[in-house]
Amino acid sequence: MTTQPSVKTVTVTVDGVSLSVPEGTLLVEAAKQIQEDIPVYCYHTKLGPAGLCRICLVEIEKMPKLQIACNTVVTDGMVVHTASDKTMEGRRAVLEFLLLNHPLDCPICDKGGECDLQDFSMAYGQGASRKVEAKVAKPKAVDLGPTIVLDEERCIVCQRCVRFDDIITQERSLVVKDRGHRDIIATSTEEPYVSDFSGNVTELCPVGALTSKTYRFKSRPWDLNRTKTTCTQCSVGCQLYVDERYGDVLRTMSVAEDETSDGWLCDRGRYNIGFYNDPQRIASPLLRRGDEWEQIGWDDAVALWARQIREARDTTGPESIGVIGGGRLLNEEAFLLQHLFRSLGVENLDWRAGRQTVATPVFSGTYEELEAAQTILVFGVPPSQTAPVMDLRIRKAVVQRGARLVTVGPHSSGSSVTETHVRRVADIPSDAFDAERIAVVFDGIDATPMRDLHERFAELKRAGKSLIGFIPGEQPNARGAEAMGMLPRDGGRGTREVFSAAKDGGIRVLSLFGVNPALRFADGALATAALERTPFIVLSELFLTDTARFASLVLPAHGPFERDGHVLDMTGRVQRLFAAHAAPGGALSDGEMLVALADALDIEIPSPSALTARARAPEKRAMPRGEIRAAAPGGEAALRVIIRSDIFAGGGTVYHDERLEELRPRPIATLHPRTAQALGVAAGDLVDVIAGDRALRGLIVRVADAASEGTIRVVDGLPGAPANVLFDGEEVQVTKLEPAAPLAAAGAVAG
């Protein structure tokens, strides 16, 4: 777009420097070309001008009054002075007004040190206030929601937060209340401010009015050690800054110029940082002795592991060895993993450990292309909970660029923009395919609709249309694992076959890397049975997860910010990770474990530089066929279960981050009011959801109009309430629990 010659340029003179900028550029952006930083509070590159703070005053020749640079479009021949006496006087006056009722509690303010109000006051303000009256008192430390604390006194009402909530997330729960000097930021409904992107407002806030609960009073910005790395909480691959002090990861900040995240972060990526030093984190290899765990050294652990592998290979052959993992590993580690086991003749290699079956789309696209798409088709689980920052792109495409959002399947998008929701592929409006640029977002779980639409897509591609696919799966580096070869080849077994074989006793040694099939595998019953029957299971993990209950040997691994290497995001871009936090002394990275294992097994491994080169050059692999166990057919009037994702679900890091307690999903079953009535349950009841001999017990009923009739929605991946005992879309029965001790039961499942 930018290369088109039709864009006219205009010449503007800023402080004596002549600039050539495209027509329509705002003055404040044009001035950035010469590093002339015009101060702004309400203006934000991604939120646009608001004209509220009036700090960006500049003097423009031939205009009698000072003009705000943030809303002035440059015109040819414009002559601007950003540092004239008149400008400075205007800024001084505005700053005096801004500070009139500001509490000046900079010493305890979390923003102190990186606060625009401080900076500009130093640059343009006056030393003392002329106001002698008491400052307007407003509520301090207002609990705005589970993540945000608001200090009304510090607020300068720039409305960046309000506009973020309006323009970017489209959720519109933040508003300005009251007027004049009494106005305050509040939620429109007086309800807590709950958003999956709430943390961004603390970064947008130019003063210390909005602060994160997790970071409140933890540190001052100048104390922090900053590392730029890639978030691996989901497959989007956002860049972020990790701020660490005294061995604690204190906060994360978005990277404004990042093309992946567009400068935003979701709350999972931003706030799930409190588990690194959790006392429950495994700090040395653990060996099972009956019901007890025994701490052993790494030498012993690796020797035992190697001996088990060697024995299994020598006696029952390499088919009796299984390896599952890769989606949480780095590219280097995934490559090493498959290289190591393939060298042993093991082909039972698979990264698929949850419900996701595919990670690499046939036609990849970038996020910018997604933003530019005219039709966005979302199949299955919507990305709002699996790849939230990507969902912002969809919202942007829909709201700002007029794209059409079509969701297919039992889930609606869950984001706040208009959508067309259809149940079946056949119901997709045919004009949806008329658009020139089509983006397909597919949850990677059930590939049936993809197969159904295969012909259609091929046709579109032949017609020369832009068709791009995204698979925001459950595991952050699933695409990397696929590209590094963590898939069964040459007759090897995939996860499901490995589990089936294990259930029959056919697997002797199973090595699991950062996966939790007991909680996340689509067929939970099969996974549990398989894990129970496998004699020796090695698990590389941070915490003792549900799967660890079956493991013989648990190896402490490195967490997301403790790793150095490369991953692939869902668009296939290689993202770099830098270690920002020192792992506990007893933990090794998965790569180190594998190197030790290779050493013990006398397997030659590639040199580190070769490994890095390999990790940076992913192989594109054909999209394997996604399979999922079909739900049993049921009657039309049957009650069907829908398994939904939640960004704060998952067994590992979130459940060992006490600061996120309020954000973790509760084991809730959501029903439409009429469905609830038909079942005879009410909100707050405890129910069991039963399918045959499998049951998900002790769910709390919530009744919501948004739920579809005839369905019961449950949350995936909750320890204590593993929804994977059920199949998505399966027919279920609901039994109400007698209210004997509902509180105790609720506590039991919540814990």
């Binding site: 305890i108 102190g112 009073f217 005294y246």
Partner: protein
């Protein structure tokens, strides 16, 4: 040549006379710690963290002293007051406040930087110990005990010197003054000979 030799010889003799003469001059040495000198009223010695009259801590954990410290001797970690456990008047207090007195150069910049006059340098300078670690003074040794005199507000101090600094310094002394730590070789405690602020 001969004259030079003689002159050199005389010079040497003059040197000998000087040193010999010093034998009988009164020595200026003060027999510290038996005898202590009164030091300047604003002497920069050991730090203390002060309280308000109602017993709340003045320190708000803002870390300005930490950033002001040219020797990187201070560590502060803030935390939030809760209604149940209110340490300081505002929202924030110092959960950790540590000064490494071995690193400290006693320049007083922390005192300058402190927005609440919480950290002050007392005239106390005796803080010898046997382990390096014991020179990291944490809140348990820096903070004035609640009963230890609350200290006057900064603007009420005569000449800017807190009136009760001495008493507080004595209270916070790391050595038990009551039993006395300084004695002659034959065991006579020299407490009575003490002078200066610490006694």
């Amino acid at each position: 040549m001969l004259r030079a030799v003689i002159a050199g010889f005389v010079a040497i003799l003059a040197g000998f006379r000087t040193t010999f003469g010093y034998l009988f001059v009164k020595k200026p040495t003060i027999a510290y710690p038996s005898i202590k000198k009164q030091h300047a009223p604003r002497f920069h010695g050991l730090h203390e963290l002060r309280r308000y009259a109602d017993g709340k801590e003045r320190c708000i954990g803002c870390e300005l002293c930490q950033i002001a410290c040219p020797a990187n001797a201070i560590v502060v970690v803030g935390a939030e007051n809760t209604p149940a456990d209110r340490r300081s008047p505002g929202e924030r207090y110092a959960a950790r406040y540590e000064i490494d007195e071995l690193r400290c150069i006693f320049c007083g910049l922390c005192e300058e930087a402190c927005p609440t006059d919480a950290i002050v340098l007392t005239p106390r300078f005796e803080m010898s110990d046997y382990r390096r670690g014991s020179f990291v003074y944490a809140k348990d040794r820096l903070l004035v005990p609640p009963q230890g005199g609350v200290g006057s507000a900064p603007d009420e101090r005569p000449n800017g010197i807190p009136a009760d600094l001495g008493a507080v310094a004595q209270q916070k002394s790391t050595v038990d003054i009551a039993t006395g730590y300084d004695a002659t070789w034959y065991g006579r405690a020299l407490k009575t000979e003490r002078r200066g602020l610490a006694g």
